[in-house]
Symmetry: C2
Subunit: 220 residues, 2 copies
DNA sequence: CAGGTAAGTTTGAATCGTCAAACTTTTTGG
DNA sequence: CCAAAAAGTTTGACGATTCAAACTTACCTG
């Protein structure tokens, strides 16, 4: 099995290459996401290439091999099931579970994981709305567009939150913006680079368009 | 915080010195319990002494400092609460949970731990009958005597199992011998070094006296 | 008490993961 | 096209944890 460190690199490379148009991750981004210096990331990626988990050439981008990708998805499944458990069963606040899962994901065995999955009745998304990969590594495709792309008057449903920071999560939850809630885009103000959203039963909230990029929604 | 390795040494020294008459643990025993060579144990204990977690002198026994003991008890609390959770909530078999908890105990934060404690309604013993230390480090004293010390005809109640091996645990569970069950000592045969126990609703079972040392019971 | 055995210690080496700092290559904006 | 800037690579070092093997001390047994 991959070490805890390697598992973190796998996740980082996986999610970075996911959102990059080239399908490759840069060293700098890998280093930042894993909280390590660029030199360290470079060294470790080379080691991962030796272990047939990643593929890269000097000064070129990094991508995972099939083996590496599968391993990354496994870690992601563990992470998301654990987050779901922490919120659903232990009633922890969704704003803190990401950090907790970051450590537990490396210590849980597949026996415990599958028991957790059964206990939670095979959830399909985690508390942030991210899809939970199946035990076979299959992931349901994610739909939706950033809140920032909706026009005033749009009726939306929050699908996912891509910023896992506790402060942001707490802030938006106070205004009802959690995965599943419905809301209306009340206004956009291009001069102020702001967008105002109103979830029924909550006070309307105005936030920067940049912040609204982290809220993925569907038309509703 | 202590590293995962150090936490394992802490637990080993703690439980060994607990059961030793001198209150000290030997290097050989520490090494065996942690699955490491004696040289490594020696090196690590010296390091722990430097960190004021253990106290020892060359060629003398090892004991924990107050700080070390407190840290060891914390790990034990985590271990036992996790075991309880795995059995009670996730319905895993008690014969395997020890090994699982051995890894998870190092990854769980106090926030998650206390949430687990609440979810389980503050259990006082783990699935093997071992007491769960309180968050303050207090441990209820353990009563009972080894099954091997009871005379034929004794009515007993199983209190704890001190052998955490899956094979032994599965074996005795098949004969109803879990913490809490009542049974009668049907016979002892000194020539065969055996003892026969009968739990109501189960077939009587004969085992070596040495094996019966691992089953702690009270008169009932 | 004298050996012999068991227990404990030291040393030298290896692996893993990391950093800082020097260096190299690529990219980018005039 | 060309000089900074950004990105990436290497090297040397370090701390943590471990092993094997040589060595030392303590404990027992006849
Ligand atoms: Mn992690
Ligand atoms: Mn999540
Ligand atoms: Mn452990
Ligand atoms: Mn136990």
């Amino acid at each position: 099995m991959a070490s805890e460190a390697i598992e973190n690199y796998l996740k980082a490379i996986y999610s970075l290459s996911r959102e990059s148009p080239t399908g490759e991750a840069g060293m700098k981004a890998i280093a930042t996401l894993t909280g390590v210096t660029v030199g360290t990331a470079s060294t470790m990626v080379k080691r991962m290439a030796g272990a047939k988990l990643a593929k890269y050439e000097r000064f070129g981008g990094v991508r995972l091999t099939a083996r590496g990708e599968r391993a990354a998805i496994d870690v992601q499944r563990r992470h998301r099931l654990i987050e779901t458990f922490l919120v659903e069963t232990l009633k922890l606040d969704w704003s803190i579970v990401h950090a907790e899962a970051e450590r537990l994901e490396h210590a849980i065995s597949s026996v415990v994981l599958e028991a957790l999955d059964i206990h939670l009745h095979h959830p399909s998304v985690d508390p942030h709305g991210d899809p939970i990969p199946g035990p076979d590594g299959k992931i349901r495709t994610e739909r939706g567009a950033a809140l920032s792309t909706f026009a005033p008057g749009s009726k939306i449903r929050v699908a996912r939150i891509t910023d896992q920071g506790p402060a942001f999560l707490s802030f938006i939850a106070e205004h009802g913006l959690r995965p599943g809630t419905k809301a209306i885009v009340a206004a956009t103000e291009s001069a102020a680079q702001s967008i105002t959203v109103h979830a029924s039963g909550y006070a309307a909230v105005t936030m920067a368009v940049a912040a609204a990029e982290s809220i993925i929604c569907e038309s509703a």
